[in-house]
Subunit: 513 residues, 2 copies
């Protein structure tokens, strides 16, 4: 994409009705998307859409070769296309299960790339080696934080070089809930996912004592690795805060030599479970970082590894495309069931599936949920959809897997990590600062100005794709290589900045009593 | 209540069908509740109920002179009465507005007790003097916590003796929500309540930048005191985490001398706004700590002060009693409207108004929501109900005020503090360790064994009432005096133990997208 005398715009497919401004385009400037010069009638901010042709009120408007909405009124050639003239509307689609399922030929084990991970007794492979303080209820959050902080500040962790640290996972719920409701079930599923996660080598599980989310109900039926030490207790049992903090610190200190005995060893990339997310998306997300991440997921799937896409409200409207990629009708139907669940959930609780683009998304140039969804789904690459799981359910099928999660970053990634992700790749256009201890999160900027502005927080710049410096494939390769390096111990920006504890946010469902 | 050769039990009213075991009562032991000896047929644990007479299946069962449920089957004299033979059932009641409203004669200002508070320019009086770091969204939680921690560890706070500290208030929400929904409105109401709270002297308000809960929408229409310095910014604006933390620390450091200029001065007790809550209730809550706290509220109301009771699900079933105490039909109807709202909310989201007694409550001897509710409502004392407000709404009417909140402690108290409470009294039977920075929380044990077992966390023991050492009136007086002392600066246990930041939990309503 060389500079021209006209302002630079990007059109993804020849059929598209709109192009994306690569720079701020002033009214009166000519733009050329390959079909002749169009003169901008309005100022079109960078990342926003410009009409390449006149559109009648009610006409479908195409981007990525797909309908992103309908003209809300007549739109003239060269007009800025956004909230004022582009509308979302439901339209019928046919579901064709599996017609586009590209079954990937997985490399033979000898040919696979490798990384240095912690091989656990259940066969899963960790990328970090942490001790955890898990809480059943908000009432034990302060004690849990104090246990972790005291251990951290004591200096004792320095003596155990194979231990990455201690993580206190706290939350606002665990009581005042229906003990047999959906909210309690989801919270338990999340906690069980963390209790069995290969990035943990020992636990203190702390309750208050009288909460709805009882430790006994939580730890029942959880298949923990037998070598992982676990101390479960409550503040009421231990006789108050001081004694609880002292007991927690003492028990974790005893666990340190056990945890420290773990060693990294070379394992094939097939052992990797890569979670994905996007947060603070912009119009570039679907042009740069997301397709590049999708390319990295394709590479990992070829190695026999697993890539997880979540954020159901952010893929809403593209389910017909995903169903076509499903390995079976069963897998496709699971996705459609979750979509139906979401329609009911939003109808009952307020909000519509179309109100997802946040103020930031809109300022960045995304107008409708469809437009955003097509960009979001690009993170999943092009391989067959091998499974669909519910929020925080264990992911056990290799390949490209969909997990039903909200789009909201901390909630989505908490479910994906509970499901077993050991590395997360997080794309951001507006600039998210996110971590998800005990799992590293690689931050990928969708545009170069963001990468430069928030350079302390960004791991990879995908903005070169729109700058014309690099390609989706090259950035995809770079992401894939970084995933292997980070899985082997290379720290991410958000780990260096101590992110990850506050971002543990289990999905809150149901009544707060 | 002197010791007798039979096991000690407590009957609150002569009409009661059950008495409460003051000690573990073994089967075969005689108990005397004043109406002759009854022989226990079962082991009746301490705090649990024993039938004083035979009851037919379906008969109403009375405690506190009130119906707490119905016999689920025939109950013999001396049987343990609990979940296995006592059932909850809806029954009709007549609403008689205001018939029991006892309008309290308020003392003349010259005769009132005083405390040493921070008189603010809007006339409200603080009990502490904090700087706050408020967050619009979970994405700025880590940066906010780091700002507060860095300021705390720098030692700079030691130079400003009138500043109590810095509080980072973080939460799991603020995005992935319907921006005009009930959830967003509640979150904004909470944040506005904290922004105007008299216990704060300066703020950093921190967002990520692209969240649904935008700073501009939040701070619009909020009537902050003009002398309170506020720095609002976002991580995206400031260029990432490191720059944000540095900017936050710098701006708070500039605010320290301004905050430190505040001085305590003697003001009448009428300026106090006392919030109440109970958490980890047991069968003693309604016998000891709650009525004693109600007595303290009565004393404060006589001074012209304000006492707030919340926890709607925990007073459910007693609304007919509260309506009789309302100063007007309007106030009574507001309560009934909120009760109706709760019926819809629980029907829609799962859970029933009867599933409130938690496993801990039940283990402590409380069987039904009615029984628990009658004990919970005792915290409000006996004066007229002067107003009913919604969650986190400003409380501006003196006297006994009801705020509609969930029963779950952190969520309830967050709303009550947002409404303007400057001291909180928290009763607990099972043992809660709770704080609510920037407001002190006085912990009142309902029983002596708990007080002794968790002595580091408890401020006051109300257990002497059941031990026979003291009376409700004496403990009420002691609570009231402690409230004045704590309002004047005396630290509570939970402040010494650094509780209060993690327990900021705005009520989560609506869809997570
Ligand atoms: Ca280490
Ligand atoms: Ca997201
Ligand atoms: Ca937190
Ligand atoms: Ca100080
Ligand atoms: Ca409570």
């Amino acid at each position: 994409m060389a500079e021209s005398s006209t302002a630079r715009v990007i059109r993804l497919r020849p059929v598209d009705d709109v192009a994306i401004a690569a720079v701020d385009v002033a009214a009166g400037t000519g733009v050329d998307a390959g079909g002749g010069v169009v003169v901008a009638r309005d100022d079109v901010p960078r990342g926003h859409k410009i009409a390449l042709r006149a559109l009648r009120a009610g006409a479908p408007v195409l981007r990525y070769g797909q309908v992103i909405g309908f003209a809300g009124r007549d739109i003239a050639e060269g007009e800025h296309v956004h909230l004022h003239n582009l509308e979302y509307r439901e339209f019928r689609r046919d579901y064709e299960f599996g017609v586009d399922a590209r079954i990937t030929e997985v490399l033979a084990e000898a040919d696979r790339d490798t990384f240095a991970g912690y091989v656990r007794s259940d066969g899963r492979v960790g990328t970090r080696n942490y001790l955890g303080v898990l809480t059943t209820v908000n009432c034990s959050a302060t004690a849990a934080k104090q246990i972790a902080a005291r251990l951290r500040h004591s200096g004792v962790l320095d003596e155990f070089e194979n231990v990455d640290g201690v993580v206190a996972l706290t939350h606002g719920t665990g009581c005042g809930m229906a003990p047999d409701g959906e909210g309690a079930a989801v919270l338990r599923r999340v906690m069980r996912g963390y209790l069995t996660h290969p990035n943990f080598a020992g636990f203190v599980v702390l309750g208050l004592g009288c909460e709805d989310n009882q430790i006994a109900a939580l730890t029942r039926d959880v298949h923990m690795r037998p070598e992982v030490p676990v101390f479960t207790s409550t503040i009421q049992e231990l006789g108050g805060t001081r004694k609880t903090v002292a007991a927690g610190v003492a028990r974790l200190t005893e666990m340190l030599p056990i945890a420290n005995a773990a060693r990294r060893s070379r394992v094939p990339a097939s052992a990797l479970v890569l979670g994905t997310n996007c947060g603070g998306s912009d119009s570039y997300s679907g042009l740069t970082a997301n397709p590049a991440l999708g390319n990295a997921v394709d590479r990992l799937v070829r190695q026999g590894g697993t890539g997880i896409v979540g954020e159901t409200p952010e893929i809403y409207g593209t389910e017909h495309m995903l169903v076509r990629r499903a390995v079976s009708e069963r897998v496709g139907r699971k996705l459609l069931e979750r979509i139906d669940w979401w329609r009911e959930y939003t109808a009952k609780n307020g909000g519509s599936m179309d109100n997802n683009p946040s103020p930031g998304n809109k300022a960045g140039g995304l107008t409708t949920i469809l437009e955003k969804s097509l960009g979001a789904v690009a993170k999943g690459g092009t391989t067959a959809l091998t499974d669909v799981v519910e929020y925080a359910e264990p992911v056990t099928t290799p390949g490209f897997v969909f997990m039903d999660t909200p789009g909201y970053d901390p909630v989505s990634v908490t479910g994906i990590v509970a499901g077993g992700a050991t590395v997360v790749c997080f794309t951001t256009g507006r600039g998210s600062a996110f971590g998800c201890a005990p799992v590293p999160s690689i931050k990928i900027a969708t545009n170069t100005p963001l990468y430069q502005h928030m350079t302390d927080d960004m791991d990879i710049n995908a903005g070169g794709i729109v700058d014309g410096d690099t390609t989706v494939e090259q950035v995809g390769e770079r992401i894939y290589r970084r995933v292997l390096a980070v899985a082997s111990g290379e720290p991410t920006r958000s780990e260096s900045l101590d992110y990850g504890e506050e971002e543990f946010v289990p999905w809150h469902l149901g009544t707060v009593m």
